[in-house]
Structure formats: structure tokens, C-alpha cells
């Protein structure tokens, strides 16, 4: 009964969003303005219907209703309740419902953030958002209905949630990522509304800015969490693999960053209007394209969902409808939006323009590299090629240097033109000083000097000096510093975050040490001065798995640190996973992955020492905090 209610609620959402997607458009073009007071109630209604539907699905998971096909494949009675809850979005069908919920929450958020929504601009925004929600509900109901029943022959026991997804980070990773992905629908809708109602002005940019920032913040958290999850769950110590699924999230992230920078200029100076419009469309297009690549099965990937060409076709349809439509409106729109401002080559405007070019070209290139194997196979009639980390690492380096360079000086540049460049000398001196200090610290920490991390250290010093010098050099009186900090707080956080991220990446890729070896109980191994001792092996029984647990002791000078790594066997699907043992401090992670039992009490191990790896996620967190601060400040000032 409950699954049917969930199904009905979803159909209800389909009906409501259909009306919501058509009515305002009809009103606008027939110039018959009824009262637009339905906009808010409709938004809330949709959100209620969709969350009701999701709650029904969660309920089916919690009560082990294996007559529901989706529950039967992704859960079983042994699964702890917490993971049953999270299993709701553990596979394709349920995650789509979550996606739709995120979309409807964004709509509610927008409609209630504004004091007055009784204008054509808001109602067209409402309509486009409703169309997006409608399309995804339709997609869910027709190709991926999570409420489908296995009647009358329902199984008594279910399959299992993929063991590597039975994990805390994974339970919150999808909601955050989907909030980010789907949030980009809002700037998209706003851009369309601006074009249709011919309101391509500062106010539109002002409206779109906080939402693009907020989506970016959620994407940052989602991607960061995904990377952290991969690091400790996949068992080999990698934190980013340029996997198609990762790229599908990374590309919209890059474009959303370009978007909110461009919107700043459009709001303040009235320039880059076309560019901002295009980026609004592009960011949502990237988000849809990512969805297509992940869910259509054209790319094989570790995280990819089950393959189904029909789904691929449907998403391609959604993608085409929205992006083709938007670009058509874009090409037909009133092109008289001449920029009424001018700027020099040494202005913030121009800095932002370069930043945008770098970000967008990088995003396009990453997307191109991701689908290149498919293009290649089609073009060469069957030859297969791979594009992976060694390619993308080469690709991103010049872009990262360019972007880092701009970040360091960006805050000093003035609108329209920069009056003086006295800051440059100081910036260079501060940067070099910091660079030397960092390298001395690194030398003492790791006992060697590695040129591999030099670029990363340089960028770190440059960005950090750029951020802090700006406060000092402008010689603001003390009472003004507070208001200045208040003004720049988000940007400072986010840019510092990028700096920490870059430093973490640089150091961990140059100073890590790693060994694969065999150890018997009682033996120890010296890895670059850290002595790992295999103390003992024990068996443990979890709720739905049995595990071999290896306990190790690490001698670090006088201190002894203990950690344990497990080999788990999940009973229901007989899947084996590795739970790595990690002990982390500010400067390094000890990372131990238990391998296989070779003979007797001899096991294979992979030991790693990964310096500064935490700084990567710390940096990502700072970026997320910074973008949150900026967006919340904008939303609070909303009129």
C-alpha cells in the first residue's frame, strides 16, 4: 500500500509541475495576467508531494518490503537500519527521486527568498523550474520507477547495497552532490526568464548570483566528500582518479565558478551579459551532460549506474529539449544589449574575463577528454584508447598556474582600470619569503627537497600573500578592516581554500611513500623511518559481515600509534572489501590496507605514508564555506 501511495504522490507531482510549467508561459504570451499568487503554493505543494514520495520509499526500505523491486535489489534484512535509510539513494531509481526533491527544494527556496514574486520574471523562472522537475519526474516514472512491484512472487530476502557504499560519507555524499547539480537549474531558469522577459540587467545578475554560489558550494562539498570516500574506501590511497563520473561533477563545478565570477561583473558593471547568459545555460547543460554520461551506460566506470539504453535516450531528450531550447532563445534574443561600459587590460573586468576563459576552456577540455575514447572508437571504426590521469594531469597544470596567478593579483585590481601597481613588488617579496619558509619546513618534515611540489608551493604562497596583503597594503584604518573583511570574507575563505588544496595536492604527490609487502604476525617493516609492526590478527563479526582484522603498531620515534585494517566479507552477496586503517595528523596520514592471506599468518599489506593529504579536503571545505558565506550574505540582503 505504502509504495502505491509513493507512486501516486510522484504522479501528483507530475500533474502539478505540468500545470506549473505551462500556465505562466501561456499567461505571459497571451498577456492575460491572472493572479500569480499560485506560484508559491504550487512550489510548496510539489516539494511536499516529492518528499512524501521519498518518505514512502524510505519506509519500504526500513520495513524490508522486498515486493518492491528496487528494495529487493538494494537492501536485505541484515543491513543496519542506518544504511537501509541511505540505500534509498544507493542506486539509480531512488537517487532520481532524491534529485527531483532537490530541484523542488531549490524552487521553494527561490520563491520564498524574494519578497514579491508577482512579476513576469519570477513566474517565467517558476515555469522553467517546473518544466525541469516535470521532465525528471517523467523520466523517473517511465524508465526508472522505484515503486515497481515484484508481485505475486516477491523474494523473501533482498540482494545487498554495494558494500563499499555502506559507509557514512556515502550516505550524505549523494544528497550534497545532487543539491549542487540540480541547483544549477535555478540560474539556468533565471537566465531564460531574463531573456524571455527581456530583463537582461544587473538585477537579473544580482538574482542569479547567490544561487550559482550556493550550487557551487554544494558541488564542492559533494565532490570533496566523494574524493575522501574514494580515499579511504577503495583501499589504494588515491583521492582523485579523473574517472568519468568524477569529471561529470568536476566540469559543472568549474563552470559554476566561472558563472558566479562573471555574474559579479554583470551586476556591478553591466558588461559580459551575453557571456553570463551563456554560462548560465552552459552550467546546467554540463550538469545534464554529466547525468547523461553517468546514467546512460555509454561510459563504463566504477560508480556508473546500471546500463539501460532507453534511459540514455530519455536523458538525451531532456538534455536536448532544455539546452537546445535555451540556446535557440539565446540566439534569437534581442541582441541590442550593447555593453555600455569599458575597461582596460589591467582591470578586474579583464581579470575575470581571463579567469572565465581559463575555467571554461578547461571544463570543455576535460569533457572532451572524457568522451574522447568514444569519439575515437567511432571515428577509427573500433580502435580503443584510454584517456586517464596522466593526460588530465598534464592538461590541468597550465590552467592551474594561470588561475592561481590571477587569484594572487585579482584582489588588487580596480574596476575599469587599476591605478597603481605598487603592490606587485611587495607581493613578489612576500611570496618568495613564504616559498622559502615552506620549503624549509618541508625539508625538515621529510628530510629531502623535492622539486615536484615547487609549483604548488609557489602558487600557494602567491595566493595566500595576495589574499592577506590586500588588507595590509591598502592601509585601511583599523575600524574599516572589519567592514572590509566582512565584504571580502567569502572570497578570502574560498581563495585560501584553493591555496590549501593546491599545496596539499603538490606535497602529497611528491612526498608520499608506498610499499607492497608480506608480513607475518610479529614482523615489522621500516618505511622511510616509520616502523610498521604487524601485531596480531583477529576475527570479528559485524551485523552483515565477518572480518579479519589486522592490528598494527607504528613506531614514530618515541611514540607508538596503533591502527587496524580489515578484510570484510559481506555475507549476502559474498563480496569482499578492504577497510583501510588510517591514522591522521596535521602533516601526514599513515595508511594501511590489508591484502590477502598468503599462507599461515602471513598477509600482504600495502603501507603508505601520505603527507598533507588532509589539506586537500580541508581546502575544499574552506572553498565550500567561503561560497556559502558569500551566497548567504547576498540572500540576506535580498529585497
Amino acid at each position: 500500500m505504502i509504495p502505491e501511495i509513493g507512486h501516486l504522490l510522484l504522479i501528483g507531482a507530475l500533474v502539478v509541475t505540468f500545470i506549473g510549467g505551462c500556465l505562466p508561459i501561456y499567461e505571459f504570451f497571451s498577456k492575460k495576467y491572472y493572479s500569480q499568487s499560485y506560484v508559491r503554493p504550487f512550489s510548496v505543494l510539489t516539494a511536499f508531494l516529492v518528499s512524501g514520495s521519498l518518505i514512502c520509499l524510505i519506509y519500504s526500505f526500513l520495513v524490508d518490503d522486498f515486493s518492491v523491486a528496487y528494495v529487493a535489489t538494494n537492501s536485505n534484512t541484515l543491513l543496519p537500519n542506518y544504511y537501509k535509510f541511505a540505500a534509498t539513494w544507493g542506486a539509480h531509481e531512488g537517487s532520481l527521486v532524491l534529485w527531483v526533491l532537490c530541484l523542488s527544494l531549490w524552487l521553494v527556496g527561490y520563491m520564498f527568498s524574494k519578497r514579491d514574486v508577482n512579476d513576469p520574471f519570477s513566474s517565467i523562472t517558476f515555469a522553467i523550474m517546473n518544466q525541469v522537475i516535470f521532465a525528471f519526474v517523467l523520466f523517473t516514472l517511465f524508465t526508472s520507477n522505484p515503486f515497481e512491484r515484484l508481485l505475486p512472487f516477491s523474494p523473501l530476502e533482498g540482494g545487498d547495497l554495494n558494500p563499499s557504499l555502506q559507509d557514512f560519507a556515502f550516505t550524505i555524499h549523494p544528497p550534497l552532490l545532487y543539491l549542487g547539480y540540480s541547483g544549477l537549474a535555478l540560474p539556468f531558469s533565471l537566465a531564460i526568464a531574463a531573456m524571455i522577459t527581456n530583463n537582461i540587467d544587473s538585477l537579473w545578475a544580482r538574482n542569479a548570483r547567490p544561487w550559482s554560489l550556493l550550487s557551487c558550494a554544494f558541488l564542492t562539498l559533494g565532490i570533496g566528500l566523494g574524493s575522501w570516500w574514494a580515499y579511504y574506501e577503495l583501499g589504494w590511497g588515491g583521492w582523485w582518479f579523473w574517472d568519468p563520473v568524477e569529471n561529470a561533477a568536476f566540469v559543472p563545478w568549474l563552470i559554476s565558478i566561472a558563472l558566479f565570477h562573471s555574474l559579479i561583473v554583470t551586476e556591478r558593471r553591466g558588461v559580459f551579459k551575453n557571456w553570463s547568459l551563456l554560462l548560465s545555460i552552459l552550467s546546467f547543460a554540463a550538469s545534464l551532460l554529466g547525468t547523461f554520461l553517468v546514467r546512460s551506460g555509454v561510459l563504463t566506470s566504477v560508480h556508473a549506474f546500471a546500463l539501460d539504453p532507453e534511459r540514455g535516450l530519455f536523458i538525451l531528450g531532456i538534455f536536448t529539449y532544455f539546452v537546445f531550447g535555451a540556446l535557440l532563445i539565446y540566439s534569437l534574443k534581442n541582441t541590442k544589449t550593447q555593453s555600455e561600459s569599458t575597461y582596460s587590460l589591467t582591470s578586474v573586468e579583464f581579470g575575470f574575463l581571463l579567469n572565465n576563459l581559463l575555467l571554461v576552456v578547461l571544463a570543455i577540455s576535460i569533457m572532451f577528454g572524457t568522451i574522447f575514447p568514444l569519439l575515437y572508437e567511432a571515428y577509427t571504426n573500433g580502435d580503443q584508447v584510454s584517456v586517464g590521469p596522466p593526460y588530465f594531469n598534464v592538461l590541468i597544470l597550465p590552467f592551474a598556474i594561470g588561475l592561481g596567478f590571477l587569484q594572487g593579483i585579482g584582489l588588487f585590481l580596480g574596476w575599469s582600470d587599476t591605478k597603481d601597481f605598487k603592490f606587485v613588488n611587495r607581493l613578489v617579496i612576500e611570496t618568495l619569503t613564504m616559498l622559502i619558509v615552506i620549503n624549509i619546513i618541508l625539508y625538515f618534515l621529510f628530510g629531502s627537497f623535492n622539486t615536484g611540489s615547487l609549483v604548488a608551493c609557489l602558487l600557494f604562497s602567491w595566493i595566500v600573500s595576495g589574499n592577506f596583503l590586500d588588507i595590509v597594503i591598502n592601509k585601511r584604518p583599523l575600524n574599516k578592516i572589519k567592514s572590509f573583511l566582512n565584504f571580502r570574507l567569502g572570497a578570502i575563505f574560498a581563495h585560501l581554500g584553493i591555496a590549501f588544496l593546491v599545496l596539499g595536492i603538490g606535497v602529497v604527490s611528491s612526498y608520499s611513500s608506498e610499499k607492497e609487502l608480506l608480513l607475518s604476525v610479529g614482523e615489522s617493516y621500516d618505511l622511510d623511518g616509520y616502523v610498521f609492526e604487524f601485531e596480531n590478527l583477529s576475527s570479528e563479526k559485524g551485523p552483515n559481515y565477518i572480518a579479519d582484522v589486522a592490528s598494527l603498531k607504528i613506531q614514530e620515534n618515541a611514540q607508538a600509534i596503533s591502527l587496524s585494517s580489515e578484510k570484510r566479507n559481506y555475507l549476502s552477496a559474498n563480496q569482499v572489501t578492504t577497510e583501510v586503517g588510517i591514522v591522521a595528523d596535521l602533516f601526514k596520514d599513515y595508511y594501511v590496507a590489508l591484502g590477502e592471506n598468503i599462507e599461515g599468518d602471513t598477509w600482504s599489506f600495502r603501507l603508505q605514508v601520505k603527507p598533507f593529504v588532509r589539506w586537500i579536503w580541508f581546502g575544499a571545505l574552506l572553498v565550500a564555506i567561503g561560497t556559502f558565506i558569500s551566497s548567504i550574505k547576498l540572500l540576506r540582503k535580498e529585497t
Binding site: F350, S386, G388, G447
Partner: protein, 157 residues
């Protein structure tokens, strides 16, 4: 700050301490090498080859049997003193270019390798061209008036 200082001291002592000790644990390693250079090369190779079975992992990140066999094979080749390109040739003759995560630079992949940088160059060139054509349109007096306006605005920001 105190903890930073402390760890620096620790690190120094560590460096001094580890220099004196020869690593006697070589026999426990799965892939022992005589020189550090060989080992670095080996690890780099494992990072850059794709596991043919698992589709989205390199050899060093994969636990599949074929990845292990290939690791052993590459280990043998490195120990035999084979150059990187010889090892790459060995693998591509059996598994094709698919096994290389870094696609070879050849006519069919020029677009992949040069495309992004060419696109960036074109984009920057376009920006400069558009900028110049725009600047010509705006007369000097306009420019001065606008500048004045913006300066006063930016001081108020």
C-alpha cells in the same frame, strides 16, 4: 605553533635517526628493487597503465588477477633493464592502446593533445581582438567621462 615547532624537532631527529639505519627489510617486499630509481619507474608505470579487466582503474589500484599478473610481468621487465618505451610496446602489442592511460601522441590524437591549448589561444586572441575593436568605438571624451564615474564608484564600494 608549539606543535608545529615540536614536529619540526621530531622531524629533524627522525632524519638523523633514519640515515644511520640500512633498510634490512627488503625480503619482505613484494616487488624488491636494487635501486630507488627502478622502484620509482615501476610505480610510475603501474600508475600509467590501465587495468584491462576493471575498466576504470590503473594497475596499481586494482586487485584483479590480471592486474597482478601484469604487475609481475612489468616487474620482470623493469628488473631486466627494459626501457619504459619497450615496456609500453610490450603491453600495447598485446592489449592495444587501451592499456595506456596516457594516449600516445600521434595524428589520431593530435586533437586531444593540442586541442585544449589551441582553443585557449584562440579564445584569448578573440578577446583581445574584440577588445580592440570595441575600444576604437568609444571616443576619448566618453572614455574619460566613464572613467571618472567608475573611479568615484569604486572608491565607494
Amino acid at each position: 605553533m608549539k606543535s608545529l615547532f615540536f614536529s619540526i624537532i621530531l622531524a629533524i631527529s627522525q632524519v638523523i635517526w633514519s640515515v644511520g639505519i640500512q633498510n634490512l627489510d627488503v625480503q619482505k617486499e613484494l616487488y624488491p628493487f636494487d635501486t630507488v630509481e627502478e622502484e620509482i619507474r615501476f610505480n610510475k608505470l603501474l600508475d600509467d597503465y590501465r587495468c584491462p579487466k576493471c575498466q576504470s582503474s590503473n594497475l596499481s589500484g586494482s586487485n584483479s588477477p590480471i592486474a597482478r599478473d601484469l604487475k609481475i610481468e612489468i616487474y620482470r621487465l623493469v628488473k631486466e633493464g627494459k626501457k619504459d618505451y619497450e615496456i609500453t610496446e610490450f603491453l600495447t602489442q598485446r592489449y592495444g592502446d587501451f592499456i595506456l592511460y596516457k594516449p600516445p601522441f600521434q595524428p589520431s590524437t593530435y586533437l586531444l593533445w593540442i586541442g585544449p591549448f589551441a582553443l585557449l589561444l584562440i579564445a584569448i586572441l578573440c578577446v583581445f581582438l574584440v577588445k580592440r575593436s570595441k575600444q576604437k568605438k568609444v571616443s576619448d571624451t566618453d572614455l574619460r567621462a566613464l572613467k571618472k564615474k567608475f573611479q568615484s564608484e569604486s572608491e565607494n564600494r
